[in-house]
Symmetry: C2
Subunit: 134 residues, 2 copies
């Protein structure tokens, strides 16, 4: 069911400083920032050739990543997003196997304009997993 | 400098339970376990088509991931590994830009039989990054 890794997201307190770190130390090419009001974050992407790194900065204290950054003030790995062929079939299997969907079980539109869902990290090896319709 | 994502590693307290979770909930195919004495871990891989997920279980309390699991008892994302064309050139650039290499600056042989180095997470957005010679 899980397909290719669409992206790995890293929450950061400051997108400008984080972009500089990745650019200077790792010679990464950083996309233009994109503000996603509905998700409470501003993001940039780093294309790695086979997948993407997404750096996320909270828009404000109500952002879903604000609590994560309060615990991890320097930032850190936040979630992994997998492409799936059928997000409804994937959701139904997850729920049948006892995994909880975060928030509404109806997919939201994510950063790439496609339907996404998040799975409770306690239900899969302490890891926040996003699934995205291919 | 950073190339394709070679793998994303998730530390887990129990490889068998973690493998079951990924298999049942996410329909993942899990490789046979591989014990890496030198790294203090037993690993399995999940091939995602474009990259890999690596699940890591500590061999004992002296394992480098034991402290991480003490803080994150359910497990969690541990590091991201990038392929690089020239691990020595990458190391030298990182050090020149102020990033610290964990342990010896001489690459060790990693899970794939290739030279690897780890960068201090405080020096790159709170994220532990491994680089591996392509």
């Amino acid at each position: 069911m899980v397909g290719t890794i669409n992206h790995i997201a890293i929450a950061v307190p400051c997108l400008r400083a984080a972009s500089d770190e990745w650019r200077q130390k790792l010679d990464a090419e950083i996309s233009a920032p994109q503000r996603l009001e509905e998700h409470g974050v501003t993001v940039v992407f780093i294309d790695t050739g086979n997948s993407k790194i997404e750096l996320l900065e909270p828009i404000d204290d109500a952002s879903p990543i604000a609590a994560f950054l309060a615990k991890n003030p320097q930032g850190g790995m936040h979630h992994i997003c997998f492409d799936v062929d059928d997000i409804y079939a994937s959701r139904d299997r997850l729920v049948a196997e006892g995994a909880r969907i975060l928030g509404s079980p109806e997919p939201k539109i994510g950063a790439h304009g496609k339907p996404v869902l998040f799975i409770h990290p306690k239900d899969i090896t302490g890891t926040l997993i996003e699934i995205q319709q291919r």
